[in-house]
């Protein structure tokens, strides 16, 4: 890349920042329409129960009530993954968690809607509930869903790359570890909201705080029984998402139905308690790993098992399960690898994709495990990792194609900046340093439902006045996706980003982009925008070259001009250039699209893990621990992130700092937990669900490592999720450095620290955490020879049978998702 870029790489303002600081951004709940009605949902008070009858007569009789709907109106199931379409917009025959909606009301105002919802009489027949992984394994009955692989085990996976037993036999040292990662939730500051507006001709528009308007479009059309052309989805700017607004939700489909029934716009805004029930957050995961290493730390074999507590529905869970086993291989070389994963159904709000989707839990165990291995081998934990990094442009044991990898620079940077050599294992008791590294996808290589179309599309309209409108299906959730589109188009066309109007996330107006998930937007929309802008540039130089008599290859675009680079005074303004091109070609518009490169992983389940590019992060955390109280604080963080190229360093650093913050919340305090035997959420409010404030914010030193990736626009890779991954293990490893005890559990709360210290003082191992995993009979593994065994990415044995899912919900292909 040349250094004469004028927009890319500069710390420019976000194109939507001014509206945000004056409160003018229109979030979903800020919308109002004439005659608008308000909806409320009636939710189940039981964790698991049959719905025997619903009497809505008292609600309907209330003055100001316009309509009441129940599961009767929603016979068609939906769900984000084609293999687990197990949700109904309102429950029909049974409820599966406290908070599962059974009925909905539209009324003149929210007060009346609430009163009417409470006037609905539901008769339930309670069923025994399943509330943990252990219970799900032990109690196959009653089944939460009939289509699970076995009893209440939604999905069981087993795959082996190479021969892990041979790997252990080659090892000088073998170690195993257990870990439990508690669930937690996204906690976006914006409560979910949807407003449905009916058209007189029977169509409906849904405005919603969704990260995935395209998937909502598909689900809503299907459930409403309408052609997709009659359903329009507009994603409003999301007031925070973090993965929590990536599923199609009950409330979005319910308001559309209510709008069609009443002929009125209908709004629903969830309260904070309901946001905790929507959830789709971090799966609680119990894990076990066994690793064989040579004396120098080279990994000869790794066997990893994960047990996910999935909650009541499928959501992204099958993909989440694969993700708990997918990315162990992309940081350090793993010669032989075996993964077994189980996802259980439980009677709790469904888990799904939260920032890092399925990878923070295994990454935490892996990095803690390596810390322990390094100590046993008497190696510095950083030196040991540096000796075995995955090479650039290589293929891993599980056939993930790694392109650029700036991990070495990341590790060396934080090692040197933190004073690691002088301070690790040398600080006074109560203070410590810990290290961890990680990697994440820049977008999933395959779409959620099987198709061969582009993942992202951009259309440009060039205006005679010199403005450009950029249409794209991508969704602005605060990460700066609208700005990325403007920056790329402005760079190519030589105009200012603020000359560009960005129109996004409207299924009627914008070409499909799959959504703001899996850290895919910068890479995929950026590439689509590059192509569309490149084609627009071509039209402009063709027309201007002909008019000025200058070869088009000599023309440059910069400073809102198209000019002869050899005689810069000869040229046209950008507006004149557009007029010139419009005269020559007619109305000006161009398109661009992006489809990821084909994956080398040809085995079943190989849809999860491939990505056009992988980002890398390394972190050193410094902690202070009070051995009297068990209280842990994190005063300093050093983090280096390989983002390929920072399209705007200010925004990339913002993503890194935000990731660090969210990871600290997970490791220090956040937990979505339930009352035993009831399945009642312990703290569904901001007052009780603890998250970090300004007071807990450490001094975060961020270093961007720019190792441009050929698959990224201008070399860019992701930044929004990867930097969360090293936070938890770096803090846990630092606590060990500070106190000499291991807390093999997240969150790391003072009780756990004190318990570990107590055990150590009693002469027992200074550790708290799980010591066993449930006994599960796994299917025969899918066996895939590694690339170094001459494999071609295909399985040689063990492709499993199809699971017994309802025919309308069967997938056409392996599951995929980021």
């Amino acid at each position: 890349m040349s250094d004469d870029l004028r927009v890319i790489g500069k710390p420019l303002l976000k194109v939507d920042a001014r509206a945000k600081v004056i409160g003018a951004t229109r979030f979903a709940d800020d919308l109002a329409f004439p005659r608008m009605a308000f909806a409320r949902l009636l939710r189940s008070p039981h964790a698991h129960a049959l719905v025997k009858s619903i009497d809505v007569s008292k609600a309907l009789a209330l003055e100001g009530v316009y309509a009441v709907v129940t599961g009767e109106e929603f016979p068609v199931p939906f769900g984000i993954l084609p293999v687990s379409e197990d949700e109904h917009a309102l429950c029909r025959d049974k409820v599966r968690f406290v908070g599962d909606p059974v009925a909905a009301v539209a009324a003149r105002d929210e007060w009346i809607a609430e009163e009417a919802a409470n006037a609905i009489a539901v008769t339930y027949e309670p069923l025994p509930s399943i509330l943990s992984i252990e219970q799900a394994v032990a109690k196959p009955e009653p089944r939460i869903h009939d289509y699970a692989d076995e009893g209440n085990l939604h999905r069981k996976l087993s795959m082996e790359f190479g021969d892990v037993e041979r790997g252990f036999a080659e090892a000088d040292h073998v170690r195993e570890d257990f870990f439990f990662y508690e669930g937690n939730t996204h906690l976006p500051m914006e409560q979910h909201c949807a407003v449905a507006v009916p058209d007189p001709d029977g169509k409906v528009a849904i405005y919603s705080s969704t990260q995935t308007p395209h998937y909502l479009h598909k689900a809503a059309a299907k459930v409403l029984g309408m052609p997709p052309s009659h359903v329009r989805v507009i994603a409003t700017p999301n007031g925070g998402g973090f993965g929590g607004k990536s599923d199609p939700f009950n409330h979005e489909i319910v308001v559309a139905k209510l709008a069609l029934l009443t002929g009125r716009p209908v709004k629903i805004t969830l309260n904070r308690e309901e946001v905790f029930y929507c959830h789709r957050g971090r799966h609680p995961v119990l894990m076990w790993v066994r690793t064989g290493v040579k004396k120098d730390g080279a990994i000869t074999g790794m066997h990893f098992r994960s047990f996910l507590d999935g909650g009541a529905y499928g959501s992204y869970g099958v993909a989440s399960t694969y993700y708990t086993g997918a990315l162990q291989t992309v940081t350090y070389k793993v010669k032989n690898y075996r993964f077994e994963g189980v996802r259980a159904f439980t009677n709790k709000p469904p888990c799904g994709p939260k920032r890092g989707h399925g990878t923070p839990q295994p990454r935490t165990l892996l990095e803690v495990h390596l810390d322990k291995l390094a100590e046993e081998l008497a190696l510095d934990p950083i030196d040991m990792r540096l000796a075995h990094l995955v090479e650039p442009n290589s293929v891993t044991a599980n056939y993930l194609s790694v392109g650029s990898i700036g991990l070495r620079q990341c590790i060396e940077r934080v090692r040197d900046e933190s004073g690691w050599r002088e301070r690790f294992r040398k600080l006074p008791r109560g203070r410590g340093l810990g290290f961890a590294a990680s990697s994440y996808l820049s977008g999933a290589g395959l779409p959620i439902y099987w198709n061969s179309m582009p993942h992202s599309g951009v259309q440009l309209k060039l205006d005679r006045g010199g403005g450009v409108t950029c249409f794209c299906g991508s969704t602005e959730i605060g990460q700066g996706s609208d700005s990325v589109l403007a920056y790329v188009v402005a760079e190519v066309l030589g105009i200012d980003p603020f000359d560009i109007r960005v129109v996004t996330a409207d299924t009627d107006l914008t070409p499909v982009d799959l959504g703001s998930y899996s850290s895919r937007v910068t890479l995929m929309t950026g590439n689509a925008a590059l192509q569309a802008a490149g084609r627009a540039r071509e039209l402009l130089v063709e027309a201007v070259g002909a008019k000025l008599g200058v070869p088009k290859g000599r023309l440059g675009l910069a400073g809102r001009r198209v000019f002869d680079t050899e005689k810069p005074e000869v040229g046209l303004s950008f507006a004149e250039a557009v007029q010139c091109a419009e005269s020559k070609f007619g109305t000006l518009g161009t398109v661009g699209s992006y489809t990821p490169p084909p994956s080398k992983a040809k085995y079943r389940g190989g849809g999860v893990g491939p990505s056009p590019a992988y980002s890398y992060s390394a972190m050193v955390a410094e902690v202070e621990c009070d051995p009297e109280t068990g209280w842990v604080t994190v005063p300093r963080i050093w983090i280096a992130h390989d983002c390929g190229r920072a399209l705007n360093p200010l925004l990339v650093i913002g993503q890194v700092e935000g990731s660090v913050y969210m990871g600290l919340g997970e490791v220090l305090m956040e937990a979505q937990v339930f009352r035993n035997n009831l399945g009642v959420h312990r703290q569904p409010s901001l007052l009780e669900y603890k998250s970090p404030t300004t007071l807990e914010t450490p001094d975060i030193k961020t270093y961007l490592i720019e190792d441009p990736d050929p698959n990224g626009p201008y070399g860019a890779k992701e930044a929004g999720q990867g930097p969360l991954l090293p936070v938890m293990p770096a803090v846990l490893n630092a606590v060990y450095d500070a106190l000499g005890v291991r807390v093999d559990e997240v969150p790391l709360n003072p009780q756990r620290v004190l318990e570990a210290l107590r055990r150590k003082a009693d002469g027992k191992p200074g550790r708290v955490g799980p010591t066993a995993i449930p006994r599960v009979v796994y299917p025969d593994p899918i066996r895939v020879p590694t690339p170094w065994e001459g494999g071609d990415g295909r399985a040689v044995a063990g492709e499993p049978r199809k699971s017994q899912i309802p025919s309308q919900a069967r997938a056409r292909n392996p599951i995929t998702k980021g």
């Binding site: 303002l13 939507d16 600081v21 979030f27 009163e115 976006p188 007031g239 925004l651 700092e657 914010t697």
Partner: protein, 168 residues
């Protein structure tokens, strides 16, 4: 009698410098009246229990969370929202600093952050970092990790001090 059937009451107050009179249910919150009746949607709801600060407004010059203010408490009061505050000369440097420093990502907490920063810098034009942390501890942000917000506050404080002669 169910709450939804209660008689509406008349409440008068000064909103962003102009007198207003609204008819509202007695249990309505100042937040509801601002957003639903007066259509000033810059004030946000994040939790409904005074924990997140997204609904911050000035009530008689004091920073309050409007989700915890019953509407009757606004009777005769002076209420200022982001819409009225954002263009005030001593607030312009604050909002511009949030833009310049990327102190706002999704933007839902930002109006509350701007008001909390305004309250801080009006009381303490040159705050220490610990004072900034304490002043903003009641405003939750899930996007930024707060670092860029601290930078924005420092930049705003400096800009306001530079312009102080002309501003206050």
């Amino acid at each position: 009698m169910p709450v939804a059937r209660a008689a509406k009451i008349e409440v008068s107050f000064t909103l962003n410098g102009a007198p207003v009179t609204v008819r509202a249910l007695p249990m309505a919150r100042l937040l509801d009246v601002l957003r639903e009746d007066l259509r000033l949607t810059g004030t946000k709801e994040g939790c409904g229990e005074g924990e997140c600060g997204a609904c911050s407004v000035f009530l008689n010059g004091r920073l309050v969370t409007s989700c915890l203010v019953p509407i009757m408490q606004a009777e005769g009061a002076r209420v200022e929202t982001i819409e009225g505050v954002a263009d005030q000369p001593d607030v312009v440097p604050i909002r511009e600093a949030f833009v310049a420093c990327n102190g706002s990502q999704c933007g839902i907490c930002t109006p509350g952050m701007i008001l909390a920063t305004t309250a801080l810098l009006r009381a303490r034009p040159n705050p220490a970092e610990t004072e900034v942390r304490e002043a903003l501890a009641g405003n939750l942000c899930r996007c930024t990790g707060y670092v860029k917000i601290f930078e924005a506050v420092a930049r705003a404080a400096e800009a306001r001090r530079g312009a102080a002669g002309g501003v206050r």
